[in-house]
């Protein structure tokens, strides 16, 4: 499938997901409490920003955004002996 065919096939699905995210964010805003400083609410905004990226690895970037950091010295931190 070329790009136009994919867009035609998926336009309504993507439109529906945008609408559902909009409704979720509205719902949080209408409820009591301020989420401005909530790390998870901020993560969602940063995820939305990645959708505007011009790269073609947005999905991987979104995955990494929502991931804990990896530290390659973790085995020393855990005081684990390396096995062979």
């Amino acid at each position: 499938m070329n790009a136009s065919q994919i867009l035609e096939r998926e336009f309504l699905e993507v439109r529906a997901k945008i609408l559902e995210i909009a409704a979720s964010l509205d719902r949080m805003d209408r409820a009591e409490g301020d989420l401005t400083l909530d790390p998870n609410r901020q993560l969602l905004d940063r995820g939305i920003d990645l959708l505007k990226s011009n790269e073609t690895d947005r999905a991987e970037q979104v995955q990494l955004l929502f991931s804990r950091e990896y530290n390659d010295g973790w085995q020393d931190d855990f005081d684990l002996q390396k096995r062979t």
């Binding site: 991931s67 950091e69 990896y70």
Partner: protein, 279 residues
Amino acid sequence: MYYIDPHIHMVSRTTDDYQTLARMGCVAMSEPAFWAGFDRGSADGFRDYFRQLTEVEPARAAQYGIQHFTWLCINAKEAENVELSREVMKLIPEFLDCPNVLGIGEIGLNKNTRNESIVFQEHVELAIEHEQQILIHTPHLADKYQGTRMILDMLAGHTGLDRSRVLVDHVEEHTVREVIDAGYWAGMTLYPVTKCTPARAADIIEQMGPDRLCVNSAGDWGPSKPTAVPDLIMEMRRRGHTEGMIQQVVFDNPYQFFSQSRHFSFQVPNPETRVFDTP
């Protein structure tokens, strides 16, 4: 199309599911040992579970013409209890001769803790000692990237390991490449909300190529869809992939991976095959 679901927890599923899977073309499945939704209290509880995996489910599956295989271990969640884990690991060798056991699994990490890492390492050593294949669970969501890297670090330390006999499961966009590039097999789990969708799995297959990639439903007692592999088949057909390409992912790949296990006695269906013997 015939397919194999290489990762599905049938102890948690109904016979209606077996019926439906058989009608959708499922001819074999493998069920790794996993968490039961609660922490079991004793090694004896695990002995019962291993009997269920090696005796009960193969018989249940056979009623529907499906061949059932399994993998044994104590899962990452209960591995936090190192003492219990060591008792359970001691049980495993007596079950390794059961005719449907393919290896050790699904071992792995859950919250990426020190105890989980210790028990993971000891399972790998057990597998090497008994020349068993390994099926590995990677953590979900925020823990997946970190946990997958930690698992690859640990595996890299075992020079006696044949990487072509290890499958790292639940890979997604940010973890698949490192697993495949390091020479392991990779599994993608099709799951609503928290894991991979059929569309995203098809994307990954298109980008990585189909070699050493498997897909599974991981159907269990939580929100999950045991018929997710047929969903992927349909998605790949809609995208114009050939039947041969799809079959490589849903049948040939798990068949080839499992064939390295001495207990995988499975006859590829052919026009002469009878699924049930005549009475």
